[in-house]
């Protein structure tokens, strides 16, 4: 079982975590100005890379806090763990 390093609790088993999908998807600043295409992009379209991916995880069976991770979707290697208010680290 994969160990995921929670920034607050340390490495814990994957089964303690909940996956939150792509990170850094910001709610539109001016929702009323969005076209149907823009709404579709915001609601339905997510990056789906084969390689490093910035995503959200919640330590739902532990401290219950959210954090971000950069994970390689080919190998499942966690390349970086960082807080929600931090920018995506350079991992290459």
């Amino acid at each position: 079982m994969q160990l995921i390093p929670c920034p607050w609790c340390g490495p814990r088993e994957e089964a303690e975590f909940h996956y939150g999908g792509q990170a850094h998807v910001a709610y539109p600043e001016d929702p009323a100005a969005l076209s149907d295409e823009d709404w579709a992009k915001f609601v339905f379209f997510r990056a789906n890379p084969s390689g490093p991916y910035a995503e959200r995880w919640s330590h739902s069976a532990g401290c219950r806090r959210w954090f971000n991770a950069v994970r390689d979707t080919r190998t499942h290697d966690l390349l970086a763990i960082y807080r929600l208010d931090e920018p995506r680290p350079v991992t290459s």
Partner: protein
């Protein structure tokens, strides 16, 4: 049970790719091979190449649980899945090749009162669409599949099930080989070890593909790469509303025939049939995270095994032989995306999520028609890419039978 056919020496050539084709199909799995076959057979388009980065049918086609059924809720899904089931029913004859299609029926179990209501609703919807379906109670489940534990004293008791008698399984390898052989005989080039690394366009129109074996010009290009379609589409700057996840399955050692049908449970996340040779074939829910690694998390298998043992106490001493994962491309409404793209002559067939195998002949026919005519086949019309903009979704999470 049908006898297994002898393994043939060869079924197709391994030609060098030509410089140009009328149609290039990217992806040599079930969908790509079926598309090429129907392009040649129905539309007389034989200048076709199927490009496969690995070996034919070595991706999801080799990694699924081979279940075939058409008991979906919405009219749009019924249309395409029932079209496919009807083609399955004549496929051995059509291909001239055994595929071990066994219409042993499928039970979709209900474990809660809400499950029961949803199931009965789906049965009635199926009937209105001319699809064989019935509701059976727990005693009926026991009659159809005696090894199911229908005791009321378990955590998630079986309250009943939907039953589709025409559903079943087929031998996935033979399905792929049958399509490959038949397509090859009609003149289609099947090119393995040929990875697409670029898609070239001019004036908004596709002109060909760059591959690990050189540039191949194409009048039309059809993408049939299942879980990897997002990666291909990015080559031409196209974003898709898909997330690719590992979907795990496993088989037991060979056992005597004990399991006469297919049993699926959405609530406790396991689906089981017994392969022709005797392995118990079991599928689970998808892993929550995105992944391309063709392996998944151990705790998913653990939950799947727990569910299987509660439903089938007789499996307690069966040994697990091997596990694997396919990469499924899940769309927001759990329905496929088939049709045109903003790039002229570039066509899309993806988003089948966990449901692709059962659609193989149906989507081959429908996607071939879409490519040949340059407009969606009537069964593909509801499954356009722009439904995510218009909001005309076909929300089939309830009938997908796998926890997306």
């Amino acid at each position: 049970m049908t006898d297994l056919p002898e393994h043939p020496d060869f079924l197709w050539d391994n030609p060098e790719p030509k410089k140009a084709y009328d149609v290039v199909v990217v992806g040599g799995g079930g969908h790509g091979l079926a598309t090429a076959y129907y392009l040649a057979k129905v539309f007389g388009i034989t200048d076709v190449a199927v490009l496969e980065k690995g070996w034919l049918a070595g991706g999801n086609m080799a990694r699924n649980t081979t279940i075939i059924r058409s008991n979906y809720l919405w009219d749009e899904s019924s249309g395409i899945y029932e079209h496919s089931l009807k083609l399955w029913e004549g496929l051995e004859e059509d291909l001239g090749y055994p595929i071990l299609f066994s219409q042993r029926g499928v039970l979709n179990l209900a474990h809660t009162l809400q499950d029961v209501r949803d199931s009965v609703r789906r049965v009635e919807a199926n009937k209105l669409n001319g699809i064989d379906a019935e509701w059976v109670d727990a005693a009926g489940v026991k009659e159809i599949c005696p090894i199911v534990n229908t005791s009321p004293d378990v955590r998630y008791p079986v309250l009943g099930a939907t039953y589709q008698p025409r559903a079943g399984i087929a031998k996935h390898d033979y399905v792929a080989w049958g399509f490959a052989r038949a397509a090859h005989e009609l003149g289609v080039d099947l090119i393995q070890n040929c990875e697409v690394t670029g898609i070239s366009t001019r004036d908004g129109r596709v002109t060909g593909v760059e591959t690990s074996r050189g540039r191949i010009a194409a009048g039309k290009v059809g993408l049939c790469a299942a879980g990897h379609t997002s990666v291909l589409a990015r080559l031409v700057g196209l974003d898709l509303p898909l997330n690719s996840h590992p979907l795990q399955a496993l088989v037991s050692e060979l056992l005597e025939p004990v399991h006469p049908t297919v049993v699926m449970s959405n609530a406790v996340h396991v689906y089981v049939s017994q392969a022709h040779k005797g392995e118990l074939v079991m599928g689970a829910g998808i892993d929550s995270y995105n992944g391309y690694g063709q392996r998944g998390s151990f705790h998913i298998i653990e939950e799947q095994m727990a569910a299987a043992l509660e439903l089938f106490p007789v499996f307690a001493r069966a040994h697990l032989l091997r596990t694997w994962a396919g990469i499924v491309d899940v769309s927001p409404d759990a329905s496929p995306i088939i049709g045109l793209t903003p790039v002229e002559n570039l066509f899309l067939n993806c988003g089948w999520g966990t449901g692709g195998f059962k659609a193989t002949p149906g989507v081959g026919d429908v996607f071939a028609a879409t490519i040949a005519r340059g407009k969606p086949h009537e069964y593909a019309e509801p499954f356009t890419l722009d439904r995510f903009t218009t909001g005309a979704l076909v929300d089939e999470h309830g009938a997908a039978a796998v926890a997306h």
